[in-house]
């Protein structure tokens, strides 16, 4: 289960607004987020992935706490088991498809690969 509480100011062409969210996603659930451009959908995903640190917030993934601004916890992207499909482009120009799909396991032992 993912439980998230997020408060994060956004600066847009239209001026300042705040992303203020609180939600839970349970196992087996599929959550779709929609809204006009610039309403913070991408920012929300980036906050969940750990690429943006929100001003205030708390994110819990199962038993793991990924973010708690009150107690200063911020698990970096690498430590979160999360996948993210980027909007415009995130192919590594220097790698083949095989190399790219093997990247997450490169440098780890075979045991850990199987474990994951």
């Amino acid at each position: 289960m993912i439980r998230a509480q997020i408060f994060h100011p956004l600066w847009l062409a239209a001026g300042r607004m705040s992303l203020d969210l609180e939600f839970e996603v349970h196992p087996g659930e599929l959550l779709a987020v929609y809204g006009p451009s610039g309403s913070g959908k991408t920012t929300l995903l980036r906050i969940l992935a750990g690429l943006v640190k929100p001003e205030r917030g708390h994110i819990r993934f199962g038993e793991e706490i990924w973010l708690d601004t009150d107690s200063g916890i911020l698990v970096p992207t690498q430590g979160r088991r999360i996948g993210l499909v980027f909007q415009d482009y995130a192919l590594f120009p220097n790698m083949t498809v095989r190399k790219t799909s093997n990247l997450p396991w490169s440098g780890t032992s075979r045991k850990r690969r199987l474990g994951n």
Binding site: L51, P76, G83, L84, Y89, F92, P93
Partner: protein
């Protein structure tokens, strides 16, 4: 071609490759740090790194000479503690060249990092890769042209260095007498034939090296970065 001529060219080559090697190890982390820095320190650091571009080489040489002269302060301490003499010695020239060519290594690499889409690094982080392994597996392979430009410019710039070497190196054959100094020395001695030899070698060398960089970068561009 006599022995002194070859010795001078060999020394020039040794100095330039040593300085370039050190600059690669120093320049990549520095450029990476600068490219990802956001604080107020960034402009200050950038200014510091770029100073050898605009500062007269004699100024740099003068300060190095003062700092490392073996009869006082830092220079004396280095000599006593490590038996390291940085004026009128090859190691001193390496140090001077590293400082003098630093912007030629850092600036292209920094620009290379800054021009990469930030999604590349973020995608790599989301696949669990650390900053270090992202640097080596994703970022560096995608800025090969910038790396090559940085290395070649640093090398060529060190070959062409004159003022700094004159100040801290002098003109010791086999130790600090590099090609640019040798030309000056031969002209002063009205030995124009020898000066011509050095000058011609440098002209041809410089042209070939720049031709190589532009040619290789052109083929990188054609392949769209895939190497």
């Amino acid at each position: 071609m006599n022995e002194a001529f070859l010795e001078t060219l060999w020394l020039t080559f040794r100095l330039a490759s040593t300085a370039t090697l050190i600059l690669v190890m120093l320049g990549i982390p520095l450029a990476y740090g600068l490219a990802s820095a956001k604080s107020w320190r960034k402009p200050a650091l950038e200014a510091l790194v770029s100073m050898p571009l605009v500062l007269p080489p004699t100024v740099l040489g003068f300060y190095l000479l003062i700092a490392f002269s073996p009869d006082k302060g830092l220079g004396r301490w280095l000599l006593e503690q490590f038996d390291l003499r940085l004026v009128f010695s090859f190691s001193g020239l390496v140090l001077g060249s590293v400082l003098y060519s630093l912007p030629f290594m850092v600036q292209p690499i920094q620009a290379g990092f800054e021009n990469l889409p930030s999604h590349l690094a973020e995608a790599s982080y989301s696949l669990g890769k650390s900053r270090r392994s992202t640097l080596f597996r994703v970022l560096l392979p995608n800025i090969k042209p910038a790396l090559l430009t940085g290395m070649v410019l640093s090398f060529a710039h060190t070959v062409g260095e004159f003022g700094v070497i004159l100040m801290i190196g002098g003109n010791i054959p086999g130790e600090t007498r590099v090609a640019s100094i040798a030309i000056y020395d031969e002209v002063e001695g009205l030995n124009y034939a020898a000066a011509h030899q050095y000058a011609l070698v440098l002209v041809v060398f410089t042209f070939l090296i720049l031709l190589g960089v532009f040619g290789i970068n052109r083929s990188f561009a054609k392949k769209g970065g895939r190497a």
